[in-house]
Symmetry: C2
Subunit: 354 residues, 2 copies
């Protein structure tokens, strides 16, 4: 049996302390708990509470600074007004910007977001998903690290609201928003083709990522459409880390026939630039470049980089919209692929004939 009186015996007999919760406020006003709850949830109109009662309650709530316990509300109602956002690497500017947009728009609708960094690891991702689900988030926005995730499959099958961003899970039918990766890569290649290049190398990230796979597909398709068949060793790359990219880029630079390179990921672009510096190759005179992920510094290096910009704000907005649709009981939406934008600067020139 609990023995923790909130008020001392003397206080109990004297004027009651300021109400702290709905029950005490109701007592204070001589109304029922239910009425107070209804009004504070903005459902006075629907349930025909009298305007006077409503005003009284609202007023009292304001003067006593009543803050309904959301834990209790959630326990009872089953909804937490909370979602989980799981990304592979928040320190990556792309995901940081995405997280910012998503959080900001969600916050404005009263939902709080749990951030979880999956560290590019499926195990961590699965654990995060589990944890967040246990915490009763209403839904999830996930940028998956790999091509599948058992925990996620279970959730989706249960009908739990999840939307994936950036990378899709091929085996799972869930609402999705991302850049049109293939189209974006095509855009990069086309810019190079238009400048006269034919032998264009491709620096990719990790073949394990869907987005990367798609971009490579777009690269290949664009070249083929132009009548050039990319050789296997025109494509290099085996991971998203900078050292791996640098090494892969060095392989590409060792192929004299290549007059241009597209870099298919932001992290990877850093490795490419390093390799170019190492090799003393001059850009764009000796090598043209189009690189993924517009960044604040891209206009400041020399030469200013021609880049592919992903529609981050739109991705965030659509992802939130898709999720809200699900939270409101709507059907699972489709996959949305948004167009990227090419930013012309000075890293593309005519092909260099050795």
């Amino acid at each position: 049996v609990q023995r923790k009186p909130r008020t001392t015996p003397s206080a109990r007999r004297a004027a009651p302390a300021a109400p702290q919760n709905l029950a005490s406020l109701a007592r204070h006003l001589g109304l029922s708990l239910a009425t107070v709850s209804l009004v504070l949830n903005g459902r006075a109109r629907a349930l025909r509470i009298s305007p006077e009662t409503e005003a009284r309650i609202l007023q009292a709530a304001r003067t006593f600074q009543i803050q309904p316990n959301r834990l209790a509300a959630s326990l009872r109602s089953g909804r937490t007004a909370t979602i989980g956002l799981v990304v592979p690497d928040v320190a990556n500017p792309f995901f940081a910007a995405l997280a910012q947009q998503i959080e900001r728009t969600l916050r404005n609708t009263g939902v709080a977001v749990f951030l979880s960094d999956s560290e590019e690891s499926i195990e961590v991702e699965e654990a995060s998903l589990h944890e967040l689900h246990q915490r009763r988030v209403d839904g999830l926005i996930l940028a998956p690290v790999g091509l599948q995730n058992r925990r996620l499959e279970a959730l989706v099958k249960k009908g739990f609201p999840v939307v994936s961003i950036d990378r899709v899970l091929p085996h799972l039918a869930l609402p999705h928003v991302s850049t049109d990766h293939a189209g974006a890569a095509r855009q990069a290649v086309v810019a190079l083709l238009e400048a006269g290049h034919r032998r264009i190398g491709c620096l990719r990230g990790s073949p394990a990522a869907y987005s990367d796979e798609e971009r490579v597909r777009g690269y290949r398709a664009a070249l083929r459409d132009a009548g050039v068949e990319p050789a296997d060793d025109w494509i290099a790359g085996s991971g998203f880390t900078r050292p791996a990219a640098r090494e892969a880029a060095a392989q590409l630079l060792a192929r004299p026939e290549l007059t241009a390179i597209v870099s298919l990921a932001g992290q990877v672009t850093l490795g490419l630039l390093e390799a170019i510096r190492d090799h003393g190759r001059r850009c764009p005179e000796q090598l043209s470049i189009v690189a993924f992920d517009e960044q604040p510094w891209c206009s400041l290096i020399s030469p200013p980089l021609t880049t592919i910009e992903q529609p981050i704000a739109a991705i965030a907005a659509q992802a939130v919209a898709l999720l809200q649709h699900r939270l409101n009981g709507g059907a699972v939406g489709a996959a949305i692929h948004l167009p990227s934008r090419l930013i012309h600067r000075s890293s593309v020139g005519p092909p260099f004939s050795s």
Copy 2:
């Protein structure tokens, strides 16, 4: 009166469905709810539950995949194993990296983090603090946008666990971790002094930010220690945005006596580089630079930038430690200022004599 039987009448009479919660598990095992709860919370030892009972419960919990409802636990216990992380701008690489480190280490101790972006606005920050507190987070890690915040003051006075990072609130005694801003600025200036510079300009961010104020203080002190009194118009800057920084940098570049400039903030460095490009000033031949915030691209521009690196991992680790100390009922800790690191590259040369 509720009329939602979990099981159909027939099912009720037949074999009971798989237990879903502690109560049903207890019934299933013929034990009491309390015993099950105790064991699942790892308190069997302390309360001398028999090892057999413990094993039975643990085993059953595993086979039925029992996941105690954390909302209910939180409602009852008053603890949510949740904290709020409020930063002015997650898209800023410094805060993104900080958020990543904080979230990762906290997640490993079982606490989830609500991310909230205060958009460099005091109003938003106050609203976020309020919201998070209402959601019953156990504590907060905050990078304040301004010099005061009424909502925060109220929380702190109540004894609510808060630790501030990066920027301190001068009026509030709360545990704090950040780079030694003044020392870091001094480090930058000293590097320039050692290269022979005397007339060193200072590009600052916003005077409204404590961190910026401190850095300017360090700049001034370092110059004075070297016997040079900085003129008022050696210091420019009125905000953290890139255009503002570019304009302020232009003012600095217009002063012919300055042979070097220190940039005191990451965002601001981008504006400085823009202005230098605009003016066609050559670096380091005509102007030396030391800039705040080491970034992945700093080694890739020309010239490679000499930078000041903040100890992000250490700040995150200390902030978490300080918060955990508070969560465990410890006293309010002190302010911790961690040393920065100067990364020598090529943007510092001997002074240019015009």
